[in-house]
């Protein structure tokens, strides 16, 4: 399986993602943001970081960058596009995913382990994962998901919610919401479920010596489902 990780000048999780993809069997290549074309891929990943500094809205300049047109074309033709953290922010800026990511409710950057509940397994990203709740890691300042009531209705009607913040038992209530995200949303799909944006970083949880190992389940499933 071939994957491509897009590097924006301010990306800083590109190497971590490369390490994770290769560990689980992807043939990964790094693609520079100023390139116009993406090599043939089964999966495109927009990694975490600060794309172009994000002094404007997070991901807004990346959403208009040279490479992004190829990403949009790839996604519209049904290709798998995964955006983690800043990648999720970029996907909402391109319009490939609905809604926006606001500053965290308590206005602080948050770096810690969280639990997320898998809400939909009818897709390539979570299909074969046996667990219902995963322990992942978040590290962001703008992860507070928000969208209009109409958008939310459409998201719910189309089963587009991918993962929600919860406790270790899967209670995805207000008490277990680290950043104020609407409906505890930690990640969403597009209608066709080929695009996934999520704030948690599975690539930081692929080794028992790191924060945990549930990220491994995510990548194992991904390579198997493709």
């Amino acid at each position: 399986m071939k994957s491509s990780v897009i590097i924006f000048p301010g990306s800083n999780c590109d190497r971590d993602m490369d390490v994770a993809l290769k560990k689980f069997g992807f043939e990964n290549q790094m693609v520079w943001h100023n390139d116009a074309k993406i090599p043939k891929s089964d999966l495109i990943v927009l990694p975490g970081g600060f794309s172009y500094g994000d002094y404007l809205r997070c991901g807004s300049i990346a959403g208009k960058s040279k490479i992004i047109k190829s990403v949009i074309d790839f996604a519209n033709s049904g290709g798998l596009v995964l955006g983690i953290c800043n990648g999720f922010q970029i996907l909402t800026e391109t319009g490939l995913l609905p809604g926006i990511l606001q500053q965290n409710k308590y206005l602080n950057f948050i770096c810690k382990n969280v639990f997320v509940k898998i809400k939909n397994k009818e897709n390539k990203y979570f299909k074969k994962i046996k667990k219902e709740v995963l322990e992942l890691h978040i590290a962001h300042n703008e992860g507070n998901y928000f969208c209009s009531n109409d958008e939310l209705k459409s998201i719910e009607d189309n089963d587009q919610i991918a993962v929600t913040y919860c406790d270790h038992k899967g209670n995805d209530d207000e008490k277990n919401n680290p950043n104020g995200a609407l409906k505890n949303i930690a990640g969403i799909f597009n209608k066709d479920k080929n695009i996934l944006g999520m704030m948690p970083h599975p690539e930081r949880m692929i080794d028992p010596f790191l924060s945990g190992e549930d990220g491994s389940l995510f990548f194992e499933n991904l390579i198997e489902s493709l």
């Binding site: 301010g10 800083n12 971590d16 602080n108 950057f109 948050i110 770096c111 590290a139 924060s211």
Partner: protein, 731 residues
């Protein structure tokens, strides 16, 4: 142009006789640009004029040392051609005036020092000191500093893996922000700041030069008064995104062979970077200031030379490599300008609009900078307190413990490190909140441990002992994660060196640091000095911060501090005499502020530490934590809270005062957790090496208990410990 006279020189922070020395050296009156250059090079921050004499005594050698003090950062060998570049630096003065930008640019500056040498930063740490929690400024300063550190480090994508936060009223008017960075480099590909060769192009890269930070270094060499708000414009503004670009571009250029020397523009900007390169290479340098990329219009030569705009570098390239280098900086969208060349004149010559605007022999600025042998007084060892028995009569262990666990200097600092990205780069195997942070050396079995420590209370009580103690504490933190201690970097934060008492504190702390680091083979390879941490005559307590690093040759053998399994034994290694003077217990419970700090016995320190490493290598230790502030019971509580397991303490033997035993802050001690089947083996090994140890208790249940004296559930002690800072920050 302004005509220079003594009054203007004094406004630049120079002393009257220093100005006279300048005129004598030049055999004329300097012009304003030249005066600016002198003032930037001769201030305390850049010239180390009060400290240099004493810093020479530091222990800086060892077979592990590749580069000691004097370069952008120190470098140590960690085997297999890998080396760690590391340094700690202060950004105290700017952080008090503008906490966010002050702290952010402190982080940016220290990272540049490290990647200037060709190393990719792999970990950040910090040591921050604030005034009393109830002081009106403390909360906002803390919030701003933490946001600034996070804002910069998180954006660059370097994990912040450990740190230290202290509160003490002596910092009410002068907070301390010390930032430390570790970078990884191939030991055969290290870059230095010494220029070599004549007619080599001098290149400016990075951000454009603006009017921010002019006289930053002079401001950091002065005491504060009522008008400090007016100094805001001297604080630099950070742009972490540009730093990230600069980092990547520099490392890309360094992969080739075109760089002769490279130096970041830190304190005193273009002035100090160009002069340092020329001085180390024994060369002259010619710069055309018209070619410097400027952000603002009509900047004068004076402003260009003194600006401390961030994210800039100066490079001396091999001739003919300009285009190759420019391509890389174009790719990363950074300014690139050939602004001058090296010469054999041994002068710095500055041109602006085809006119020579300054010419000064480099030696006058560097080697001929003033050096002072300041007067100092030796501190006396304070008299020990004789605590009367009835002082303890009304006390209960449980009340004391609960109170100590919410002492601002003991309570959990999660509120702070949750705001730092500590897991990016995917190699953080020990997060903040442990004995030390640990990151793997990417793609190998090795890992590097790092911590920052200070003990201002001890240093204040007796500087010589305090200086020794803080090195030992750093050493213990390395041992406690199972790392072999390698070397340290020191950030020496003191008051006004023109006062004999403050100067004495400095001299004796340095002496203590030297003695301990020599004995432990734990050399100082880099650092900086920050004097004049004083506001309206009130100085800070002497605060040397020691950043230590250690090596784990097999990261899978790393130790952590949380209790592991029920039924395991807990042992204290090292003798407990029950030293309460200067302890948290004495201050917080007995309200006693006087007395000597605990004695440091370097022989025991080394023996005990080596013994712990030995036990670890034989896989006989499950958990390890050093005993520091708050003594044994505080250490045990932290281990219990982290592991969510209780401890049943054994009855103390003999006539020991239980308060002294459990809260004394004697040095050189560790608590280890041992499996029952290994106990005999461990005891025999300890006896063989004549290491004192006590059997302390068993891991058991969910409370900390000692017969009828103590019964506290983990949840009970956890709440106060975990929540103190969070609650403080929302109030």
């Amino acid at each position: 142009m302004v005509k220079v006279n003594e009054k203007i020189a004094i406004e630049h922070g120079l002393k009257s006789d220093e100005y006279k020395k300048i005129c004598n050296l030049l055999k004329r009156t300097p012009n304003i640009t030249e005066l600016g250059v002198f003032s930037a090079m001769w201030n305390e921050h850049c010239s180390y004029k009060s400290s240099r004499k004493h810093l020479k005594k530091l222990h800086t050698k060892g077979e592990q040392v590749i580069q000691g003090p004097g370069e952008n950062a120190g470098v140590v060998d960690i085997e297999d051609d890998d080396a760690i570049v590391f340094k700690i630096e202060s950004h105290n003065h700017p952080s008090f005036i503008e906490p966010y930008q002050g702290a952010a640019t402190g982080v940016g500056g220290i990272m540049r020092d490290v990647f200037t040498m060709g190393a990719r930063p792999i970990a950040n740490l910090n040591s921050i000191h604030f005034g009393a929690p109830d002081h009106e400024k403390t909360r906002n300063l803390l919030r701003g500093v933490v946001k600034g550190i996070g804002g910069y480090g998180n954006c660059i994508g370097v994990p912040t893996i450990a740190g230290q936060t202290c509160f003490d009223e002596s910092y009410n008017g002068n907070i301390l922000v010390n930032a430390m960075t570790l970078g990884l480099v191939n030991k055969n590909k290290i870059f230095y700041s010494k220029a070599a060769g004549i007619n080599k192009p001098v290149i400016y890269v990075g951000s454009k030069t603006g009017r921010d930070g002019i006289h930053g270094a002079s401001m950091a060499s002065a005491i504060f008064d009522d008008k400090i708000e007016e100094k805001k414009p001297t604080v630099q503004v950070g742009d972490p995104f540009t730093e990230k670009l600069l980092l990547e571009a520099c490392l890309e250029l360094m992969a080739g062979k075109s760089i002769i020397s490279i130096q970041d523009m830190g304190a005193a900007g273009l002035t100090s970077s160009s002069i340092e390169m020329a001085s180390k290479g024994d060369l002259g340098i010619k710069i055309d200031l018209t070619k410097v990329p400027c952000r603002e219009e009509n900047m004068t030569p004076y402003e260009i030379m003194l600006s401390e705009s961030q994210e800039r570098m100066l490079i001396v390239l091999e001739e003919g490599k300009e285009n190759e280098a420019k391509k890389i900086f174009d790719k990363w969208n950074l300014d690139f300008a050939v602004i001058g060349k090296t010469t054999n004149s041994k002068n710095i010559e500055l041109f602006f609009k085809n006119e020579k605007v300054a010419e000064i022999p480099v030696d006058f600025l560097a080697e001929n900078a003033p050096i002072y042998d300041r007067k100092w007084i030796k501190a006396k060892l304070p008299k020990e307190n004789n605590f009367a028995k009835d002082q303890f009569k009304s006390l209960k262990l449980s009340d004391c413990l609960k109170k100590i666990l919410i002492d601002p200097n003991i309570a959990d600092k999660e509120w702070i490190w949750d705001q730092y990205d500590h897991t990016v780069m995917g190699d953080t195997i020990q997060k903040p909140g442990g004995n030390a942070g640990v990151v793997r050396v990417h793609g190998t079995n090795k890992a590097v441990a790092a911590s920052v420590d200070s003990s201002a209370t001890y240093c204040h009580a007796h500087p010589l002992t305090g200086g020794k103690q803080v090195v030992c504490e750093s050493w213990r933190n390395m041992i406690s994660v199972g790392a072999k201690p390698i070397a340290i970097t020191n950030c020496l934060n003191f008051g006004n060196p023109e006062k004999e008492k403050n100067m004495g504190e400095f001299v004796e702390c340095v002496e203590g640091i030297t003695e301990a680091s020599k004995y432990l083979n734990y050399p100082v390879v880099s650092g900086n000095v920050s004097f004049y941490n004083e506001t309206k005559d009130k100085g800070i307590k002497p605060t040397p911060s020691i950043g230590g690093i250690g090596l784990l040759s097999d990261y899978k053998k790393m130790m952590t501090m949380e209790l592991k399994n029920e039924g395991n034994y807990l042992l204290v290694i090292g003798k407990t005499e029950g030293h309460l003077d200067q302890s948290v217990f004495a201050r917080n419970i007995l309200s006693e502020l006087n007395g000597p700090p605990p004695e440091v016995n370097l022989f025991n320190e080394k023996q005990n530490g080596m013994c712990v490493l030995n036990l670890k290598n034989k896989k006989l230790i499950e958990t390890c934590h050093d005993v520091s502030l708050g003594g044994i019971l505080t250490a045990i509580s932290k281990m219990a809270i982290k592991g969510d397991k209780g401890v049943k303490l054994f009855t103390l033997e003999g006539l020991v005062n239980k308060f002294e035993y459990f809260f004394g802050e004697d040095q050189g001690r560790y608590i280890i957790e041992v499996k029952p089947e290994n106990l005999e083996n461990v005891e025999n090994m300890l006896k063989k090496d004549s290491i004192h140890f006590d059997k302390l208790g068993l891991v058991e249940g969910n409370q900390i208990s000692l017969e009828n004296d103590l019964k506290l559930s983990i949840d009970d002690i956890k709440e106060g410990y975990k929540n103190w800072l969070k609650e403080y920050m929302v109030n």
